[in-house]
Symmetry: C2
Subunit: 284 residues, 2 copies
């Protein structure tokens, strides 16, 4: 497995792979890799001939007061995981290489970035779309892999790829969960033991939403309310949102509808840690 | 010469050319082609193996009250010119193909887009960087060619390419002028006979700036003042700006300096027509 820190070096490897007719897959990450990330690399390994992982804790997608400085950096372990999952090349740039001092061109997403995470974390998604455009520019992938865990993010990236005619196909991979259902996240390691003990409630709330939608006896608003109640039961999770929305537009569903696809989206604060999770629903 | 209206068709031709190891050049235009555009295509022909021209009057770079609706559309003549200049493929998309109804991801330039044209035409450069990113996404060029005539534009596009790590090299080609020095522009055809008669004054003002800088006897501010006086002589040109600036940052030079590179930039209103022009200077 090759490890490179400079864009030109990555481009040169990728171009050589393409000259050989190989399909290039890219898995952008912020490191602190867990089984969720590994599942993305493994999927890229199955779908592509040359797999590029990127590890970069992107400062521009963190807001003031967010966890940029304490975000876990575990480069050596990350590289071991990339190797085991089948990456051919890992790009680990320094921030100064990614952002020159006077860099100020940005990619700004639209409506989809104004709600949910976008409303709570202003500027976050612009940081994401900008860095992902840059990573696509450097790694020139045919296919890029993102986790469903960051549902709004993959939706915004798909929209960006469409709107900017970027020559890459986006694949969204399923959420990987711990045994109690907690979605894997680099931020789970912030949780204290007590916090970790109730974090599984997030998945329980999503399971409740799936069950209620399946039965078809509830309106979307009622499903959202029941999710919120389940989250609030322990008294420890502070709900930022718990909604049932259109999975293409993220507009909240209000009325009772049959046979529609939906996504249940949750964000909670648990102690000093923010956690998000989601599940696709189908109203029966 | 191939003419295509759909992005997928263009991409397929370009990919085939690349598979054959050909270097791809792109010349983005809004049509109404003149010898300036042709010189870009001819340069692309010399530098590249597969030359793609694009013709698209991009609505998002026109402000309210600007000349979008009257902008000249001369597709058949444009295609003849592209053929004569050596294009292999011309992309002539409909606006509905370029912008889906709910498209809202944009590329936003920074500081460079806040001055001069950017100050007078708010949103203009964001329209430009967004459509150029899209055209690069569709035509995947190794090299793209822009005219020095739109000096600020080529600078902003270079910055965008750097900031977003786009895999394209930008080449800026010299301004092509009429016999009296008027820079070729699709908008010159708006001019009445009387207006056309004084339009050459713009170039005269730039020549005066070059002469004064060469002599090294003037400060940048004095050169700018003399340009403005030359422009105002006829009483017909309404000066929007006439400045001498740093050619990398577009910051206006104020003091007397020796041996520095500069760019003299002019925008005037002449009747109902806006004209811009520029020249590189070196203070002797």
């Amino acid at each position: 497995m090759i490890v490179e820190q400079l864009p030109e070096a990555v481009r040169s490897h990728v171009r050589e792979a393409k000259r050989q007719g190989r399909i290039v897959g890219c898995v952008p990450t912020m490191g602190a890799l867990h089984d969720g990330h590994c599942s993305l690399i493994e999927q890229a390994r199955r779908d592509c001939d040359f797999v590029v992982g990127t590890i970069f804790v992107n400062p521009t997608q963190f807001g003031p007061g967010e966890d940029f400085s304490r975000y876990p950096r575990t480069l050596e372990a990350d590289l071991d995981r990339c190797r085991a999952a089948g990456a051919d090349l890992v790009f680990t740039p320094a921030a100064s290489v990614m952002y020159q001092d006077d860099a100020d061109t940005v990619v700004v997403p639209g409506q989809l970035a104004t709600v949910l995470e976008g409303a709570i974390r202003p500027g976050h998604f612009s940081g994401v779309t900008t860095v992902v455009t840059k990573l696509f520019g450097i790694t020139e992938p045919d296919v890029a892999f993102f986790g469903q865990k960051d549902f709004q993010q993959q939706l915004i990236i798909r929209r960006m790829v469409r709107d900017l005619n970027l020559a890459v196909r986006i694949v969204t991979c399923p959420i990987i969960r711990e045994s109690d259902g907690l979605a894997m996240s680099s931020r789970n390691r912030y949780l204290t033991e007590t916090e970790r003990a109730v974090a599984g409630d997030i998945h329980q709330a999503l399971r409740e939403a799936i069950r209620l939608a399946d039965c078809g006896e509830c309106s979307a608003a009622e499903v959202a309310l029941q999710m919120r109640r389940r989250l609030e039961r322990s008294g420890q999770l502070q709900v930022q949102y718990a909604v049932v929305a259109n999975p293409e537009t993220l507009e909240e569903y209000q009325t009772e509808e049959r046979g529609i696809e939906a996504v249940a989206l949750i964000a909670v604060q648990l102690g000093s840690t923010r956690l998000i999770d989601n599940a696709l629903l189908r109203f029966g």
